[in-house]
Amino acid sequence: MSNYVINHLKELESEAIFVIREIAAQFENPVLLFSGGKDSILLTHLAKKAFYPAKIPFPLIHIDTGHNFPETIAFRDALVEKLGVKLIVGSVQEAIDKGRAKEETGADASRNSLQIVSLLDTLEEYKVDAAMGGARRDEEKARAKERFFSHRDEFGQWDPKNQRPELWNLFNGRKNYGEHFRVFPISNWTEMDVWEYIKLENIDLPSLYFSHQRDCVVRDGVILANSEFIKLKENEEVVNMTIRYRTCGDMPITGAVESEADDLEKIIEEIATTRTTERGGRADDKRAETAMEDRKKQGYF
């Protein structure tokens, strides 16, 4: 500190808080998209820091697919209660009931893509002009080009060919009527940064992220939680496994990893030595065994 240097986590924190404050200042109806996953929990934590001792001056929006882990919902409700922040729930079930969305059928049916309808409906209903999310540029190649302030036209579309250049820390949130922005304050964070910061700040996470025993089904190499939302196929059996989740989505589609990591220290250790990407999807999970090669031994993380 005496050197007038801040470490990388503090610099990322500082940048994210600056962006969150810009959103609050530049828009009339901003919201925070809360999925219940670690990135949106981190974002909520940063928003709290940005405005303390005032409360977070915008609501959280959660698109509830109806297929969430019960742990996620319980965690969400406790967090909202603690922060005294407004929660708006957009319900996929409701969209289905109203005929706005059509449920997929078959054993692999998921409500993942149905979320979009509920999201856009909810944004429109609340006249949201800026929706901030916890997406990061290191997640995938297309996201590597995403802006902090990502402009959407009146149809909610992203035009990657015509993005506004972003220079210095000058963010242009000006828009025409009917347009809105998606804003990504933690764009520059990597998975490792997120975990290190969660540890540094001692941020509470749903128990799903830590090693636990669970009844699972292994489907196409992906470890899925056995639940009422999953229909067993022939030859599939329920196995009790020691697992944790690296990302948290809907129960029927979120793959777990076999893991003994039951605290943040061990999770960071595990990620440091993991050799597959967080978003590797099915391949990711298939390779869970080879994933444990020790990069750290070689002096790197």
Binding site: S14, Q163, W168, L170, G280, R287, F301
Partner: protein, 418 residues
Amino acid sequence: MDYQDIELLRFTTAGSVDDGKSTLIGRLLYDSKSIFQDQLEAVEESSKSKGFDYVDLSLLTDGLKSEREQGITIDVAYRYFATPKRKFIIADTPGHIQYTRNMVTGASTANLAIILIDARKGMLEQTHRHAFIASLLRIPHAIVCVNKMDLVDYSEDVYNGIVSDFNAFSSKLGINDIQFIPISALNGDNVVNRSENMDWYQGSTLMYHLETVHISSDHNLVDCRFPIQSVIRPHTLENQDYRGFAGRIDGGVFKPGDKVKSLPSGFVSTIKTIELNGEQISEAFAPMSVTMTLEDEIDNSRGDMIVRENNVPEIGQDLEVLVTWMSSKPIQARTKVVIKHTTNESIGMVKELKYKIDINTLHRIEDITSVEMNDIARLSIRTAKPMFYDAYKRNRQTGSIIIIDEQTNETIGAGMII
């Protein structure tokens, strides 16, 4: 090693097609073990199917390549890697059409620029452009990588020739810190590991430079500048009188007890607390986001700036700026625009187009009637209200503006205040 305590270095890679930039980035990621197994397998697979007998690391940036083939506009892509010493953010700006616009964007937040020169070709026109933009944007550090040394038999003479050519050109530019490194991105010579082919080179590797270059004085630590983003008023029983000014420090070192002045009001007060999330901060400096409270009740709002009483920025409505034009729509004199500067915003008028700079020769082109996409030009702008600014060379945050089209709301220009 406690890797929570490492610094963040942002750098740009300047280069154009075929100079090995993608290979260099791939090499940095690969040799620093930042490539995940599944990514590497995909690249190995892809190299094999293309019939290469080596792993083509440039394919790690494949997302952009396929876009190039499809003719989609490519702009800045950001990539991340870390070593036990530092975390790095690469602003990767492909160098073809719209080159200037993209590189300026990437350069605006960079601590360091890597300038690639093909050893076989030496200094090209584009090298002049890269070096000029790095100096224009005041990137504090530059590393000139003379690449493809394997294709010139690792010749010291070739390398020395390029170094002296570059120095002859860059002496006009005023980049303070330039390092030269002979490399082969393809074979990995002097990228992360020392080359066994160039005994004559006594300097360090590229990675060593990236990990150790001194960046703590990249921010201005002298002139205290705190633009207010918003005012925090909790309106709760226990915090009825709380009035905190939220913002990010753009320069200098602020401490509780400091006498400060608020602009534009000119009111003087004393810093009561500097905090974040209720935690007290004893010294705040760039680029920290903080909340500041003052001893006196001063009616500050967004766009105002807190500075030291005896060190105030320029205050005025007439800005002389060097702009990079970013819009396909050219601009003429007497155009009304919106100016964004720190957290301040004002209507403005482009009063005069003074000259353009030919970025290949650095010559001025006078008597111009419009400024077009990718041009660098000097403009005079009049703002509707006073701005509080410093020269860009003194402070990259308080010395920069963006110009916004009043009708479309697009960002059309990036300006550095002279």
